[in-house]
């Protein structure tokens, strides 16, 4: 009887073939863990305007207002009717004690007409807030 010893050996060390795969998978895992940022995603998807501006997001407490290109406005996770923005901001402000440290961050879609941005800013000012910033995406050139 002829016993094929090579076959038996390869069955014993079946895991050896997967080790390079595990190496790669581990490397990818470490890459995504270190380089990616796990953060809460927004209620709606928006494409903020691109800019060469390099100011990082401030760590101050802020109220986030998201506006889609269709003009739907969300404060945090809640959909707000267009005329009610200042009332909604005032409601949100009740949770904050120090009014001066609160800022408003506008995440508006790049396609939003400036006229709508202007009306939004007017309502933010009516709510009594003056620290307003626009969120932009970093781009290499002013394209």
């Amino acid at each position: 009887m002829i016993i094929d010893t090579a076959k038996i050996k390869s069955r014993d060390n079946g895991d050896d073939n997967v080790i390079p795969l595990i190496n790669i998978v581990f490397l990818m895992l470490i890459f995504f863990m270190v380089a990616g940022q796990v953060s809460k995603s927004d209620v709606v998807k928006t494409e903020p305007p691109k800019s060469i501006n390099e100011n990082r997001l401030s760590e101050l407490e802020s109220i986030d207002i998201i506006v889609t290109s269709e003009g739907e406005t969300y404060i945090g996770d809640d959909l707000v009717k267009n005329g009610n923005i200042s009332t909604s901001i005032k409601d949100k402000l009740k949770a904050y004690t120090d009014m001066d440290s609160v800022s408003v961050r506008l995440k508006v879609d790049a396609d939003l007409p400036v006229a709508e941005l202007r009306s939004l800013l007017r309502q933010v000012r009516d709510a009594g807030l003056v620290r307003v910033s626009l969120i932009t995406r970093l781009s290499e050139s002013a394209s």
Binding site: N55, R105, L134, A142
Partner: protein, 129 residues
């Protein structure tokens, strides 16, 4: 005296398959949940009504989404090289005003272009309420 210890047991090999399963699940989680977008913020200080700016303001009117602007009745494009000369020839701040139908991306692009052309102070006087 000889002790009967039974057959010699080989140490059991730990199978790698469950490990790979877990690592794959972790990999999928991090791949799907991590984001690489780099957010930046552009401050838009809202001027209070009482505050008046004594400096001269050059009004830059953004005419359309292609980047046509007019500064003191002079028309040019934000991509043209002449913008640098036009900006350098003027003192004071630049106040941006926008025409109907212009979108936010064009406004931000104009702010960037003015900053790159050397404008020290750019205000959104015509945009902010």
């Amino acid at each position: 005296m000889l002790l009967d210890l039974g057959p010699v047991r080989k140490p059991a090999r730990i199978s790698l398959t469950p490990l790979i399963d877990v690592v794959f699940i972790l990999l999928l989680f991090f791949m799907l949940s991590s984001s690489f977008s780099q957010w930046r913020q552009l401050d838009l200080p809202i001027p209070s009504a009482a505050k008046t700016d004594a400096r001269e303001v050059n009004v830059v009117r953004l005419l359309d989404n292609d980047g046509s602007i007019s500064i003191d009745d002079e028309q040019l494009n934000i991509r043209s090289a002449r913008l640098g000369q036009v900006v350098a020839a003027r003192q004071g701040a630049f106040g941006i005003d926008v025409a109907e139908g212009v979108n936010t991306q064009s406004l931000v692009r104009l702010v960037d272009a003015l900053k790159q052309a050397g404008a020290e102070s750019v205000s959104l006087g015509g945009v902010l309420p």
